[in-house]
């Protein structure tokens, strides 16, 4: 392999690897301060994580995280900060749960119907922020924060009462929420897909079928961005709105399209839970929208990167359980590790980005001084290393 390519490969791997190492080391220090043995803690985490059942847990948790991450990432690609994924998914969740319980369709159709409802609601609600931005100049960060409150304290609080399932369930405490969708119309688990490769999944763990939807969303996102004209428009408008506008891309249109797409994906975030339980409970898993921001940033808005980030976060969440049960460490350590990983990863990426930019500038300058440089002839190591 030529030297330049090797250097590029090393650079590409340097950021995530060094970030992970630093994060592991820093967390070890925190663990030591807290009076825990980091080696035991890490071994417990690894051992636990290597079990098939744990992996199912990780994937189940990673699925909504990934969807939330992609939703946020779509916004970021267009330079939009969609803090509203939280509100969008909760709204889509409750409406899809309610409307899903109103009809009875064959399973496949029913699943499709529920997902489409969720995506439409998520997209439409996100669109409000987009329209406010392009027509009224309202900063989307602020409008989506306000709209989150409108959903969480307002619409969902209202509809959970309006759409409450029959009273006898609530009387003993416990399950309260919208009318459940019959299990036969929900997305089945995909344990068999996994079991094909390994052994039977134990402990009643069910790998969510929404994982497939998440993968499809990721592929769709990737293809959209890199292979279509619309994706090019979106990316260029996000990178430089002015240049892109001069190039025929209306920034306003792109803003609305991007935030609606973001909302469409956000609408799916609550679906793993709905497909599992069949109803919207009075206390759905919340905060995924905010975690999605962190996941998107850690994954650098790249479909694969976001997936890795979602799995890392999910792994840490799942590890918090084993650390407590074995007594290796307290749960808080996991939150601190998340923060440390984000910060170190971002710093590592920034450092690598600068090195790469310098390399490129050097290569360009070399071409300037010697115009005869053929395109495939790499600069020598002396030119590259500064």
């Amino acid at each position: 392999m030529n030297e330049r390519l090797t250097r590029r490969l090393i650079l590409a791997a340097a950021a995530p690897v060094s970030a992970l190492c630093i994060a592991v080391a820093l967390s070890a220090i925190v663990l030591l301060i807290a009076g825990s043995n980091p080696i035991t803690a890490y071994l417990d985490m690894l051992e636990h994580g290597s079990k098939l059942e744990t992996q199912v847990d990780i994937l189940n948790r990673a699925t909504p995280l990934y969807l939330a991450g992609v939703a946020v990432a779509i916004g970021f690609k267009m330079n939009l900060f969609n803090i509203g994924v939280e509100g969008q998914y909760l709204l889509a969740f409750i409406v899809a749960a309610h409307l899903g319980a109103q009809v009875e369709l064959p399973q496949v159709l029913h699943i499709a119907y529920v997902l489409v409802v969720a995506m439409v609601i998520g997209g439409a609600f996100a669109g409000v922020a987009g329209v406010l931005k392009v027509t009224r100049g309202v900063n989307e960060v602020i409008s989506t924060i306000m709209l989150n409150a409108v959903v969480i304290s307002g619409l969902a609080a209202w509809w959970i009462v309006e759409w409450q399932a029959g009273g006898e369930i609530s009387a003993t405490g416990g399950r309260v929420g919208t009318e459940p969708i019959d299990e036969s119309r929900l997305m089945p688990d995909i344990n068999s897909w996994l079991e094909f490769f390994t052994r039977e999944v134990g402990f009643g763990k069910e790998l969510t079928g929404m994982l497939i939807v998440a993968v499809v969303v990721g592929v769709f996102y990737h293809v959209l961005l890199t292979r279509t004209v619309l994706g090019f428009d979106l990316r260029s408008s996000g990178a430089n709105q002015h240049a892109s506008h001069v190039g025929g891309v209306s920034p306003k249109r792109m803003i609305v399209i991007a935030i609606v797409l973001s909302g469409v994906v956000a609408g799916l975030v609550g679906m793993p839970e709905l497909m599992d339980s069949g109803y919207y409970p009075s206390n759905p898993v919340s905060g995924l929208g905010f975690l999605g921001i962190a996941v998107a940033l850690l994954g650098r808005n790249h479909p694969a990167g976001v997936a890795v980030a979602a799995v890392i976060f999910s792994f840490l969440d799942v590890s918090s359980g084993i650390l407590q049960v074995t007594g290796a460490a307290s749960r808080e350590i996991v939150e601190i590790m998340k923060g440390v990983i984000i910060v170190t990863a971002v710093i590592a990426y920034e450092v690598v980005r600068r090195i790469r930019e310098r390399d490129e500038a050097a290569a360009a300058a070399a071409a300037m001084t010697n115009p005869k440089v053929p395109s495939d002839n790499p600069p020598t190591a002396a030119e590259v290393s500064v």
Binding site: L132, V141, A149, W158, I293, S330, E335, I336, V343, V346
Partner: protein, 422 residues
């Protein structure tokens, strides 16, 4: 009408705003009559407004300093959290005032991290802020598990009760002591007369000067102080150049990094102060996990609505604090119902403003929203609880819908700056 307006415009700014405020109280007075409530103009309502405005005001001022220096601070929420923890710990250990100071130090620590990440390393400001928001609650909990657990009355999620900073009642205006002697309570006297409007006005005013916590006074004193600092001092000018044109500042010999660092740390310290206020007896009286309730994000909105100016941010904080405080105290929903009519009238004012400036779209939009509020008002006798909860957010959103285009962000905010790379 128009001549009256133009007369108003000739008055000095402070007087104009006093007049606007009086008109506002008049509207509240009239409207609350229909709903048979006195909450809208009660002494306690203006007190609640202040209480609920303070953390948003402080964090908002923090956000302003940061963004004026060119750094966006999404991490305000995390810094508030640090402020609640350190504020409570300081107050419990060393007393109320020390609590405020230590809370500031805790927030400043968050600011320092943000500064290192964004100024020294040039990391994306949003990312750094998000990382702080993710980490701060974990850190607070970790610290609780190390510290509060060992103090009586504390636990991993909460601190023992925090002491406060004392209260002050203005002499004469509200009958506070002056050198140990009682003074007449002038505003109180008017208020007790129950005269239409006059008593309402004095009542609300009295709420602003009676039994005022010293911490609240400090917070509001920071508004003119910040304005003075930003607009009138060398420090302020240099700070502003960091947000407007850092390279220009560099060429004039300004150490941009230094001012950015100072600004981001001030930002954290103010958010931390806001956090310790939340944990002080004025609001919670303890540190409790999760008690910031997203106020950091509201503060971000306040920075924008306030157009990156201290006075504007105070206005935004009050605009949020009033419906929030009144909504909480509105046990039967009548005040919130009355607020619907207030909103209608306010939207009417927006229509007049828009027509005056020949902004037809704005006028139509305001008319639609106003009509909706009016219809709701007349077709119902009370509003649901969830509506009371979201009213402050809706008001903020509506204000943004009409006035966003008039706002102006510091030009270089959000853009990474590196010395010598121009």
């Amino acid at each position: 009408m128009l001549s009256m307006l133009s007369m108003l415009n000739k008055q000095p700014t402070w007087l104009r705003w006093m007049i606007y405020a009086a008109i506002g109280v008049l509207v509240l007075t009239v409207v609350q009559g229909f709903d048979d409530t006195e909450r809208l103009t009660a002494v306690t309502s203006s007190q609640a407004m202040l209480r609920w405005a303070v953390p948003i005001l402080l964090a908002g001022l923090g956000g302003m300093f940061c963004e004026r220096a060119g750094i966006i601070n999404i991490g305000l929420e995390g810094m508030l959290v640090l402020g609640t923890w350190f504020g409570a710990w300081g107050a419990v250990t060393y007393g109320g005032w020390a609590g405020l100071l230590i809370g500031m130090a805790g927030g400043a620590l968050g600011g320092l991290i943000h500064a290192v990440a964004t100024v020294t390393f040039g990391i994306d400001q949003i990312i750094s802020g998000v990382a702080i928001n993710v980490t701060a609650p974990g850190l607070a909990r970790f610290l609780s598990s190390e510290v509060f657990i060992n103090i009586e009355g504390g636990s991993i999620t909460q601190s023992p009760r925090t002491p406060g900073q004392g209260k002050f009642t203005f002499p004469f205006l509200a009958g506070g002591d002056l050198f140990g002697c009682d003074t007449p309570d002038i505003l109180g006297w008017f208020t007790r007369k129950d005269w239409f409007f006059v008593s309402d006005l004095t009542g609300m005013a009295r709420g602003l000067v009676a039994q005022l916590s010293l911490a609240t006074m400090l917070a509001f004193a920071l508004v003119p102080f910040s304005a003075w600092l930003i607009w009138r001092t060398r420090f302020g000018l240099r700070l502003r150049i960091c947000g407007e044109h850092p390279v220009g500042g560099e060429t004039q010999g300004i150490n941009i990094y230094l001012y950015k660092y100072i600004a981001v740390i001030i930002s954290g310290a103010l958010a931390g102060l806001g956090g310790s206020f939340i944990a002080s007896p004025e609001l919670s009286g303890i540190y409790l996990e999760g008690q910031t309730n997203g106020r950091g994000f509201i503060a971000l909105a306040a920075v924008i609505i306030g157009n990156w100016r201290p006075g504007g941010i105070m206005g935004a904080a009050l605009l949020f604090g009033y419906p929030f405080g009144v909504g909480l105290r509105d046990l039967d929903g009548s005040a919130s119902h009355a607020l619907l009519l207030v909103n209608t009238i306010a939207l009417g004012a927006v229509i007049a403003w828009a027509l005056n400036r020949r902004r037809r779209v704005d006028a139509t939009l305001a008319a639609v929203l106003g009509l909706g509020a009016a219809l709701w008002y007349f077709l119902s006798s009370t509003v649901p609880d969830w509506w009371i909860s979201i009213l402050p957010y809706v008001i903020v959103l509506v204000v943004l819908i009409f006035f966003s285009q008039r706002l102006r962000m510091p030009q270089a905010a959000g853009i990474a700056y590196r010395k010598g790379e121009s």
